[in-house]
């Protein structure tokens, strides 16, 4: 039920919202449900129906309230389950139109200006509604002064002389709820089926990787980890991989049904670390058999080295005006600190230092200190 209030923990993580088709659609919900939806705790402005994240809606109803301002109309729309305000902006084009179109046709010659004026007039009339008219609105949901409102991105008066449109909508909605809105949003949990690693195809792997990257990043940030080895963090990924369900036929070893649990974890960890390196979040200071990773933002020595390079070189005449180019910083820090430092890791570190106001960027790729 729409009113089933879950806590913030029940919300799917915002990273995955794009996977729910409802999120990208204009949801056709009853106004009653729209008014009762709870707002997300992760991102204000997004609302949840059951566990579907959404912020755009599509309503059809009778206008029961109208308020006109210079720039917009505010229509109160009633679909028999609830009433909601819709803010419908006036089109600038209409203001410059004169009064009703003068019917002067030039004896059969197609006058473009005339037609254009008639079109604008028709558009304007289509958007001017009175109480009792049927209005269709698509727009985004907002809560303003504790009231839910729809900021219309498109709206029009519906001509419905024999109530066909309203009847069709009334018949469609329950089915739409059953097929779509009442079905929970399945957050892919990366369950690899026993027997095949490719279950679900690439999308399954991607979402799994996305989750593992998230988990690792959060862990490193929370615990302020300066460096680590793979086996230190391996356990974090265990919840993502389910061990294969024991096969129903007896006498089959789990290894023959597919990669074993430890192998899956190792592979996932390898991919995750590769990705994090590519993003510059972690790096290996020294390439040796010992697989030791430094966390870029936590590596005080690296940050100090970068700061020193920029500070010293900014004093030189060559860099005084514009600051040091990132490539210059990169080669200096490589000499000073680590030959293997990647540009991506440097960029992450520079961003961190800039956020802390230790350095400032003068252009997209130049840095200096004050």
């Amino acid at each position: 039920m729409a009113n089933d209030q879950g806590s913030a923990e029940d919300e799917p993580p915002s990273l995955l919202w794009g996977l729910d088709p409802v999120f990208s659609a204009y949801a056709r919900l009853y106004i009653k449900d729209i008014l009762q939806m709870r707002e997300s705790r992760q991102v204000p402005g997004i609302y949840f129906y059951k566990n579907h994240p959404l912020f755009q809606v599509d309503v059809l109803g009778t206008v029961v309230y109208k308020r006109e301002r210079e720039d917009f109309y505010c229509y109160g729309v009633d679909d028999s389950t609830g009433v909601i305000n819709c803010l419908c902006w006036k089109d600038e084009k209409w203001r410059n139109q004169g009064d009703s179109v003068r019917g002067s046709s030039h004896g059969g010659v197609f006058n473009v200006e005339e037609q254009l004026r008639k079109l604008c007039e028709a558009q304007r009339i289509g958007c001017m509604l009175e109480i009792g008219d049927l209005l269709r609105v698509r727009g985004s949901l907002k809560t303003s002064r504790e009231q839910r409102e729809i900021m219309a991105s498109s709206f029009y008066k519906v001509s419905d002389p024999v109530m066909d449109v309203q009847i069709a909508r009334m018949l469609d909605m329950p089915q739409l709820y059953r097929d779509c809105y009442n079905k929970p949003f399945q957050v892919p949990c990366g369950e690899l089926e026993a027997g095949t690693t490719d279950a679900g195809g690439p999308s399954n792997i991607q979402s799994l990787l996305g989750q593992s990257v998230c988990i690792l990043k959060e862990f490193l940030k929370e615990k302020e980890v300066p460096k680590f080895r793979p086996y230190d963090v391996e356990y974090l990924l265990h919840p993502l991989i389910r061990s294969p369900v024991p096969s129903t036929s007896t006498g089959q070893e789990s290894t023959s049904v597919g990669p074993s649990f430890p192998t899956q974890v190792k592979n996932l960890l390898k991919e995750t670390l590769k990705l994090l390196q590519r993003e510059g979040e972690i790096f290996r200071k020294v390439l040796s058999p010992d697989e030791l990773y430094h966390v870029t933002e936590q590596d005080k020595d690296l940050l100090a080295a970068i700061r020193d390079v920029i500070r010293e070189d900014s004093k030189r005449e060559k860099y005084a005006e514009k600051g040091c180019h990132i490539l210059h910083v990169l080669s200096s820090v490589r000499q000073r600190y680590s030959r293997n430092l990647s540009r991506e890791a440097l960029e992450v570190a520079l961003k961190f230092l800039e956020c802390n106001s230790d350095i400032i960027s003068t252009t997209d790729s130049h840095y200096t200190v004050l």
Partner: protein
């Protein structure tokens, strides 16, 4: 500020206990009479071989072009306090919908009702 939502009701339900005094409703029926001096119209509907009717106060929706015998859709508040046997609907909206498929409209209303009833039952059971 914003009026209450007007729930769909059939004409024959209006004079029963299902619809309370002051409730906002929307309904439909055939226009059988209209007295402009009194701002009073009457909508009727047949159900289970009985003719039901409701008085509609048309003050807010005048002037309108009355087509006697045509189907009309109306929305407004129910007034049962007068002591008369018949309820009055103070119309905020009165639209001619002649040609409407009454049977289909009825089906749609029931479909919507069943859906909400099913939802409330589920919620009640939880």
């Amino acid at each position: 500020m914003l009026p209450s939502p007007a729930v769909f009701h059939f004409l024959w339900e209006i004079n029963t206990h299902l619809v309370k005094d002051g409730a906002s409703v929307r309904t439909f029926g055939r226009l059988t009479s209209y007295l402009p001096e009194e701002s009073k119209a009457v909508l009727t509907s047949h159900h289970a071989s009985v003719q039901h009717q409701v008085s509609v106060q048309t003050t807010f929706v005048e002037p309108f072009d009355p087509i006697i015998g045509a189907q009309y859709f109306t929305l407004g508040e129910i007034d049962k306090s007068e002591g008369c046997s018949e309820a009055t609907l103070r119309a905020r909206v009165l639209n001619c919908v002649d040609g409407v498929d009454v049977a289909l409209l009825q089906k749609a209303i029931n479909e919507q009702r069943n859906f909400f009833k099913g939802r409330d039952d589920e919620a009640g059971a939880q």
